[in-house]
């Protein structure tokens, strides 16, 4: 009954849904739930594949598999391993056509045995996007989509959308991450994150913009239902 109600009401803040860290504490603080909801889609616009892999690492901590859908054949597993992923958990799928790619994504997202799905998918029709979102909700799988920055203005079915801008850095690899959209959060806030090679984590950069505290964020906006796209 409770599950049926939850399904009817859609995802809610708190409750019983599993919250996963984004892999960077500073990004978690931007989100009203304190992390990403398992069973949702997250978009990374204009890069941030490594940042998404950090989130995937958290989602797959329970030993579940990470599916990499890589049609372009550019994913380099050695770099993923140095980002702290266990290659034994990784399933690399190389579909040949766009139709196969979409099918693979849907199947993988729908499967409860998968922790997260990571995919570079520049083109995605609205209807397919919605299908992916439903599949992720069914399977409770985190879908991480790398998309170009130009899709920013388009409607989205992703629950969280980040915009990544690389930043010239002094020493470390640094990028500015802007929260483009997320229900119940200050949209448009941005933080600077840096890759800390010694600890293997994404850290907040020293000269970050001032941010509202997480307590403010939690009370700032109640969860709204998505109406339409």
């Amino acid at each position: 009954m409770r599950q049926a109600l939850d399904k009817l009401c859609g995802p809610r803040a708190g409750g019983e849904v599993e919250i996963l860290s984004t892999g960077a504490p500073v990004l978690d603080r931007c989100l009203p739930l304190g992390g990403l909801r398992a069973g949702s889609l997250v978009e990374y616009l204009g890069g941030g594949g490594s940042l998404a892999l950090a989130a995937a690492r958290v989602a797959c901590q329970s030993g579940r598999a990470l599916v990499i859908v890589d049609r372009a054949g550019r994913f380099y597993a050695s770099a993923a391993a140095s980002l702290g992923l266990d290659l034994a958990q990784l399933v690399l799928v190389r579909p040949a056509t766009a139709a196969d790619e979409l099918w693979t994504l849907t199947e993988a997202l729908r499967c409860p045995g998968i922790g997260a799905v990571w995919c570079v998918c520049p083109r995605l029709a609205q209807r397919d996007f919605r299908r992916l979102q439903l599949a992720a909700e069914t399977g409770g799988t985190l879908g991480l989509l790398m998309r170009p920055a130009k899709v920013r203005s388009r409607p989205t079915w992703a629950e969280v959308q980040w915009l990544i801008e690389p930043q010239p850095a002094r020493e470390r690899w640094r990028m500015r991450v802007e929260l483009v959209r997320c229900r119940g959060a200050h949209e448009g806030q941005s933080v600077l994150v840096e890759w800390d090679e010694t600890s293997g984590t994404w850290q907040e950069a020293d000269h970050a913009n001032s941010l509202p505290s997480s307590a403010e964020l939690a009370g700032a906006a109640p969860a709204r239902r998505r109406t339409a796209t």
Binding site: Y76, L87, A88, P95, P112, G113
Partner: protein
């Protein structure tokens, strides 16, 4: 040996032929030779080099193939099933029965069906000779007796005098025969004259057992040969059909049938082959990650392949499971079974991906020791076998880009110092100015790996903050983009 002679019937029987196999201690040894080779002095067990020298240029050699021998023997065993309800095979080695060489038929009470045991024997002899074999067949009261009479010289076999049989017909190891020969014992009768009590200590237990098996004092059973069960379901359509729903329905019913056959034997299919006989025939193959006899899962896998266009009217549909394995029983859990369920769901997903995308598209990545970036990761098909194998964990090399260009993209770059880092490069007709760089990291491949590779890799950061992985080919000085940090 006989299998080869049958396979190449046009071969000249006078040409010497040797089969050889590798022995771990003595190198290549002769395992069998034909009559022509034996006339020239070749014997089984002698080194190959020695035997070929005896045969001269005229002789031929071939490697022994025990697997094919076994398959040929299995075929013969199948043919013999019409003569006996209980066909088995025998091995000269005591245990384990790995290398069977002869067939045993239990013909108790069968003879009268063929008009007497002698006629039965003649009929089997004729059938084998028609196939091209030269069999040695004998009937005996015990397995040992039949074996001995079959191997004995013709005149002794006719008299059926057990005492006169040579000891070589006793299925003894070569060293025991040699030892007995040195003692001057060549026949079974002479052997029986020796004090029985000393046999075990002097010749080992085998001799006693073989002797008793010959006389019938020790029991011996026929190790039955059985064909592995085949799982096939077939349906012939009355009228060739080209309507997809009909074909799908028939396939579904066949899968249902096959799955219930499998489940009855507690087996699951590891591979399914569905053959739609049309013009041209369409053959669908499905490989599974884990044996399954679940009709719903099997149907899903086959239907995924059925999505392609049908070749035309289809008259017959055959579904078979050439590869099966015992089903694993998993205990149902009352609480907290979700983990196993998740694992099972994952395996089903891998099956589906395999079925639709092909094995070459579903991969597992492994790190290798190769320093060359293209070869640092080995991608192997995602199979259950590779799942259990855990290689020694290699540490990934640091500073590798997440997105790799393969092959590397050539680009124009300029550097101030001739062998120094790049200052600017052009990508998609835009100039990118290098703000910072790290390197070089020199990577060279060994000369034994084909065209050799010498590169200086730089990690560069442009003024906009993007990071790339460039290298300069040290042979011609050209620049390449090899990856992008994302």
């Amino acid at each position: 040996m006989q299998r080869l002679l049958v396979a190449e019937r046009q071969r000249d029987p006078h040409q010497p032929l040797l089969l050889h196999a590798r022995d771990s201690r003595r190198g290549q040894l002769v395992t069998a030779c034909n009559a022509a080779a034996r006339r020239r002095g070749a014997r089984a067990g002698m080194p190959l080099a020695e035997a070929t020298a005896l045969l001269g240029d005229y002789g031929q050699t071939a490697p022994a193939d025990p697997v094919a021998d076994l398959a040929a023997l299995a075929q013969l065993a199948e043919r013999c099933e019409r003569y006996s309800p209980h066909v088995g095979w025998e091995t000269t080695d005591p245990a384990p029965p790995q290398n069977p060489r002869s067939l045993l038929l239990d013909i108790t009470g069968i003879g009268r069906l063929f008009g007497g045991e002698e006629l039965l024997l003649a009929e089997i002899q004729e059938e084998f000779e028609q196939l091209g074999y030269a069999p040695r067949i004998a009937i005996g009261a015990t397995i040992g007796e039949a074996w001995a009479v079959a191997l004995a010289p013709r005149e002794q076999a006719a008299t059926r005098d057990l005492a006169a049989l040579p000891i070589t017909t006793l299925r003894l190891p070569d060293e025991t025969i040699d030892l007995l020969a040195q003692l001057g014992i060549t026949t079974v009768g002479e052997l029986c004259g020796l004090p029985r009590a000393s046999f075990k200590a002097r010749f080992g237990e085998v001799l006693l057992r073989r002797l008793d098996q010959l006389t019938g004092q020790a029991a011996e059973t026929i190790l039955a040969y059985r064909l592995p069960p085949e799982f096939v379901a077939e349906r012939v359509l009355e009228y060739p059909a080209d309507s997809r729903p009909l074909v799908e329905k028939v396939v579904a019913s066949l899968i249902e049938r096959l799955a219930s056959d499998l489940a009855a034997r507690r087996h699951g299919a590891m591979q399914l082959v569905c053959r739609l006989a049309g013009r041209p025939p369409l053959v669908l193959e499905v490989g599974l990650f884990r044996p399954s006899a679940d009709p719903r899962h099997l149907r899903q896998l086959v239907e995924m392949q059925l999505e392609q266009p049908l070749p035309g009217p289809i008259g017959r549909i055959t579904l078979s499971a050439p590869l099966v394995a015992p089903l694993e029983n998993r205990q149902q859990e009352l609480f907290g079974g979700s983990r196993h369920e998740a694992e099972r769901q994952f395996e089903l997903l891998v099956d589906r991906l395999h079925s639709r995308l092909g094995a070459a598209a579903v991969l597992r990545a492994q790190l290798t020791a190769d320093p060359l970036p293209e070869r640092a990761v080995e991608e192997v098909p995602y199979l259950p076998a590779s799942r259990s194998r855990s290689k020694a964990q290699r540490l990934p090399r640091p500073g590798r880009p997440l997105l790799l260009c393969s092959p590397p993209e050539a680009l124009d770059a300029s550097s101030v110092v001739p062998d120094g880092p790049p200052v600017a490069f052009w990508r998609e007709r835009e100039q990118e100015r290098v703000a910072r760089w790290w390197g070089p990291e020199r990577i060279e491949s060994g000369w034994w790996r084909g065209p050799s590779v010498r590169r200086d890799y730089y990690r560069v950061e442009t003024e906009t903050g993007r990071r790339y992985w460039l290298f300069r080919d040290l042979f011609d000085g050209r620049w390449f983009l090899h990856g992008e940090f994302d």
